[in-house]
């Protein structure tokens, strides 16, 4: 299976470990990633606010690049998934598409509307499938309690297969990888990333509430499909701890990293050292469990 890989901005900058882990996992399960190296930012809401038409055109350009390759788009970020698929839905309207195509024509581009936008989590569960995924598991998560943190945008993206109020994808994935999913009500809550620069106080408290509840529910790690959630939950966790008045100490893994760990990849290769909240206790607990497959 081949996919047009759209890593987004953050997975190539502060969350480089996500890009690295994703490539490793994709290779392992036989997905060929054709990176859209020249694709621009999805706009992340900011460009949409500044100039909605420009944001639509920029995303149409990205979609047209995948269409030229005859491939569907793969994202690894909730926000990229939301804004690319929102654009894709808007571009289904023939009038809108014609209008945007007139802009794209200046670059010699055209978008026909025939591309799907999929997040890596969805690809793993639907296209690769639990059975093939399980076949690659060399170091099962050993019943380690892992809680999901979905992030709003993946759940709210048009065409999301999940029930946004009661999603199950990450829990199912954790089970496939041999772990024990921990559920708690704030797994669908907002991390606050999009107000991190403007209202850091609010963002930190928002993430703190989620982290606190997950920890209270017994989670030893969080798994998130979004690098933006990861940034808040990991890099700002010390501030969240301060906000709730107790050390949270909850390692946060990218979904790709979690899958990579269960595949038996070296934690260092998965970029786990780049995290601010140490993943070491989790990895150690994992290494203590028996390796069932060579």
């Amino acid at each position: 299976m081949r996919l047009a890989y759209f890593p987004g901005c953050v997975a190539l900058d502060s969350c480089r470990e996500l890009d690295i882990a994703t490539r490793l996992v994709a290779e392992e399960v036989g997905i060929e990633l054709v990176e859209l190296e020249d694709a621009g930012c999805c706009g992340a809401g900011n460009l949409q606010e500044y100039n909605p038409e420009a944001a639509l055109a920029l995303n149409a350009r990205t979609l047209s690049m995948a269409e030229d390759l005859g491939l569907d788009v793969l994202t690894v970020c909730g926000t990229c998934q939301l804004y690319l698929s929102r654009a894709n839905v808007a571009l289904r309207d023939p009038e809108t598409r014609e209008r945007v195509n007139r802009l794209l024509a200046r670059l010699g581009r055209r978008y026909g509307g025939g591309v799907r936008v999929k997040h890596f989590l969805q690809v793993l569960l639907e296209d690769v499938g639990p059975r093939r995924l399980a076949a690659h598991v060399r170091r099962p998560l050993g019943n380690l309690p892992v809680a999901a943190f979905y992030g709003c945008h993946l759940l709210r993206a048009p065409g999301a297969a999940e029930d946004a109020e009661d999603p199950r994808a990450i829990e199912r994935l954790v089970e496939v990888l041999g772990g024990t999913p921990v559920t708690y009500s704030r797994r669908t809550a907002c991390c606050g990333f999009h107000v991190l620069t403007v209202r850091q106080d609010v963002a930190v408290k928002m993430s703190a509430l989620g982290l606190q509840e997950a920890r209270g529910a017994g989670a030893q790690a969080l798994a998130t499909p979004c690098p933006l959630c990861h940034l808040v939950l990991d890099a700002y966790q010390h501030k969240a701890s301060r906000a709730v008045g107790e050390p949270l100490n909850l390692p946060v893994l990218h979904v790709s990293q979690l899958v990579g760990l269960s595949f038996g990849f070296d934690p260092a290769r998965l970029g786990l050292r780049r995290h601010l909240v140490s993943v070491k206790p989790f990895v150690r607990a994992l290494e203590d469990t028996e390796v069932v497959k060579a």
Partner: protein
């Protein structure tokens, strides 16, 4: 046939509704100049008594044989004016309405000059049309005696009783094993806290015992045929597998193994809206009528496990069990039908954030009503379905499935009207029984519009019911309780309300009876309810003569309004039946035998079986009593042999030719 007509044009001001926009004097001058027009006049209200007299006077004095009344939509007064013209000696079908209100002054109030030009075009079109019309003969048909009332809820019961009292033979058809409908579940009724069953049960008995009422329960209308003055309903009675010999001793139910703890077959009680179980042989509720037990074959060991169990037959002292009972088809011939098919409660499962079917302690108001019944699944205690513990904190959520976005397939756009008062009632009942319980009602607009409602609402506050203005964002679990997140507009505080029970005030939606409506050729309004003839001035009749509608089949309403409408529907039906004779619409299809090639296309498209081909003469023949004048046959006819009277091609073309040159560009 042009020339020689004497056409009169009457222009109505509609008290300013038309004349404030359209220059009626210019319109009158214009009309006077048209060919064959011998009179053009204007009047403040043509629909007034004076207006009607003026119309009749001019017809008599000027000998008019064509009239155009330029006024409001023909749906309003076409029948009236035609009747008056007929009394004055003119053929009623030579009168046409030119709609210059809805289609002109109302729509173009911002552009009076253009509106006047458009009014001229409309009037000229109708003048030319009238010049082409032929006088038509009006035939009558005898109305078959008797009424069928479909639906045995409070609306159907009330209408059936009134008609029977007036001396009509009534057939009351109910699809479930008992009459009583939703009202039987309600425990108490607002705003008086009357016991629902105590008020309903006597009415059930009255209709059940009435000598002129034939009751068909566990029965559904499968087909309906219409001929002039007569409806033939084909009703299927489902087998109860229990005969009339039943003595209501309940021994069968006591011994039936279904829904017992170890039984592989478990049945949720429809009566208790899923809160309790029932046996396979059952009486829906103690006051059910007829008091004959019913076997639910879909959940009975005898039928589902190859005759494995016959306990009920063995214990029955009256030998009333008959496993061999077959469905029975009954044909009912009546002159009128009242549709009183009622409502069902909306299923809130799609509204995922409210947690219905995700959390057991989220229920609907109807389920709460069952809990409040001392004979109900919790013996009158408001308890948590999860563990049966008493609910100390109850949070009610209004407008669930009501007041949604237009076009949203999952919810309804309309207000269900009764849910506010249902919540106030249930909250009050809970507080009266258990003052220490906390009850919150989360509402948007609280609509207490009926007689005694405001007082009832106010008294609930005295009981300590707490009102929170704002609908919740989510319902989530917290330990063994729930938490409801809501921002209260009144206090400006974001609340987290702990709840043992969340009660959703789910919308009322029409009971799905599409097959019945299709069989009777009834339309629905966009909200899914039966379309009444006129929502304001004629809410009980329908577009089909002889078919009436009552109760929640026509729209959400409380019991008071249901009773009122059922009475009105019974009255309308009685008036209709009382004449014993109905006039037939002469505006139906007719065939020109010289052009017909007997190709059968008309017979294929006719929905009313009103056209057939005469095998000897090889021409199509229209049954004028069955034809509705819809015109489908005229459209598909390849030779032009088929046409609808007064809508023949030259008559339609005359209007178009008249209007086209006057077309007003917006």
């Amino acid at each position: 046939m042009t020339g020689g007509r004497k056409v009169g044009v009457f222009i109505c001001h509609c008290g300013g509704n038309i004349s404030d926009v359209v220059d009626v004097y210019a319109l009158r001058e214009f009309a006077a100049k048209q060919e064959d027009v011998v009179l053009a006049t204007d009047f403040r209200f043509m629909c007034s008594n004076e207006g009607q007299e003026r119309l009749q006077k001019e017809i008599r004095e000027k000998g008019l044989d064509g009239v155009v009344v330029a006024c409001c939509t023909p749906k309003m007064y076409e029948d009236l004016f035609r009747g008056k013209a007929g009394e004055a000696g003119m053929n009623p079908y030579l009168l046409e309405i030119a709609n210059i209100r809805e289609q002109c002054s109302y729509a173009h109030g911002h552009a009076p000059e253009k509106a006047t030009e458009k009014a001229k075009a409309i009037v000229k079109g109708q003048v030319e049309r009238v010049r082409q019309l032929r006088p038509l003969e009006v035939k009558t048909a005898t109305i078959h005696p008797g009424v069928a009332v479909v639906g045995g809820g409070i609306a159907g019961i009330h209408a059936a009783t009134l008609l029977a009292e007036l001396g009509h033979r009534v057939t009351l058809i109910e699809k479930s094993p008992t009459i009583g409908g939703n009202m039987a579940r309600l425990v108490k009724t607002f705003p008086t806290d009357d016991c629902a069953m105590c008020t309903l049960s006597p009415k059930m008995n009255e209709v059940y015992n009435h000598p002129r009422v034939d009751l068909l329960t566990y029965a559904e209308v499968k087909e309906a045929k219409r001929s002039p003055g007569r409806f033939t309903l084909v009703v299927e009675k489902k087998p109860r597998y229990v005969t009339d010999a039943c003595i209501a001793c309940n021994r069968c139910t006591e011994r039936c193994p279904v829904s017992t703890a170890k039984s592989p077959i478990q049945v949720e009680s429809e009566w208790d809206v899923g809160l309790g179980k029932r046996k396979a042989i059952y009486l829906p509720f103690p006051q059910a009528l007829p008091a004959i037990w019913t076997i639910d074959a879909d959940h009975c060991f005898y039928f589902q496990r190859d005759r494995a169990c016959r306990i009920c037959a063995m214990v029955c002292p009256a030998k009333a069990i008959d496993f061999a009972m077959k469905p029975e088809v009954v044909t009912v011939e009546v002159g009128a039908v009242i549709v009183a098919t009622g409502y069902r409660e909306y299923d809130p499962t799609p509204l995922r954030h409210l947690g219905f079917r995700r959390y057991r302690n989220v229920v609907t108001q109807m389920q709460l009503a069952r809990m409040l019944d001392s004979m109900g699944p919790t013996r009158g205690e408001v308890a948590r379905p999860s563990d049966g513990k008493p609910a100390d904190a109850i949070v009610m959520v209004q407008c669930v499935g009501s007041r949604g976005a237009p076009g949203d397939a999952l919810v309804h756009e309309y207000c269900s009207r009764v849910c506010c008062m249902v919540a106030v009632k249930h909250a009050s009942l809970i507080k009266k029984a258990r003052p220490d319980a906390e009850v919150y009602i989360l509402y948007n607009d609280l609509r207490a519009y009926g007689k005694g409602f405001e007082e009832y609402y106010a008294s609930s506050m005295g009981l300590g019911v707490k009102y929170v203005r704002g609908l919740p964002g989510s319902v989530r679990p917290a330990g063994d309780r729930l938490v409801v997140d809501v921002d209260d507009m009144l206090t400006g505080r974001r609340l987290e309300l702990p709840a043992d029970l969340v009660v959703l005030s789910a919308a009322l939606e029409p009971d799905p009876v599409d097959d019945l409506l299709a069989a009777l050729h009834l339309d629905k309004t966009p909200d899914g309810f039966v379309k009444e003839y006129h929502p304001k001035i004629n809410p009980t009749e329908t577009a089909v003569k002889g078919v009436f509608v009552a109760g929640c089949a026509q729209g959400p309403k409380d019991i008071t309004d249901t009773i009122a409408q059922a009475g009105a529907a019974a009255m309308s039906a009685a008036v209709f039946l009382g004449g014993g004779e109905m006039t037939l619409n002469p505006l139906v299809a007719e065939v020109d035998p010289a052009l017909c090639r007997a190709c059968d296309r008309c017979t294929e498209v006719c929905e009313f079986d009103a056209v057939c081909v005469d095998p000897e003469r090889l021409v199509a023949v229209v049954d004028e009593t069955a034809c509705e004048g819809c015109g489908k046959c005229a459209v598909v006819c390849p030779t032009g042999a088929m046409s609808v009277r007064q809508f023949a091609k030259p008559q339609v073309v005359a209007t178009i030719d008249a209007i086209a040159p006057l077309a007003v560009v917006p």
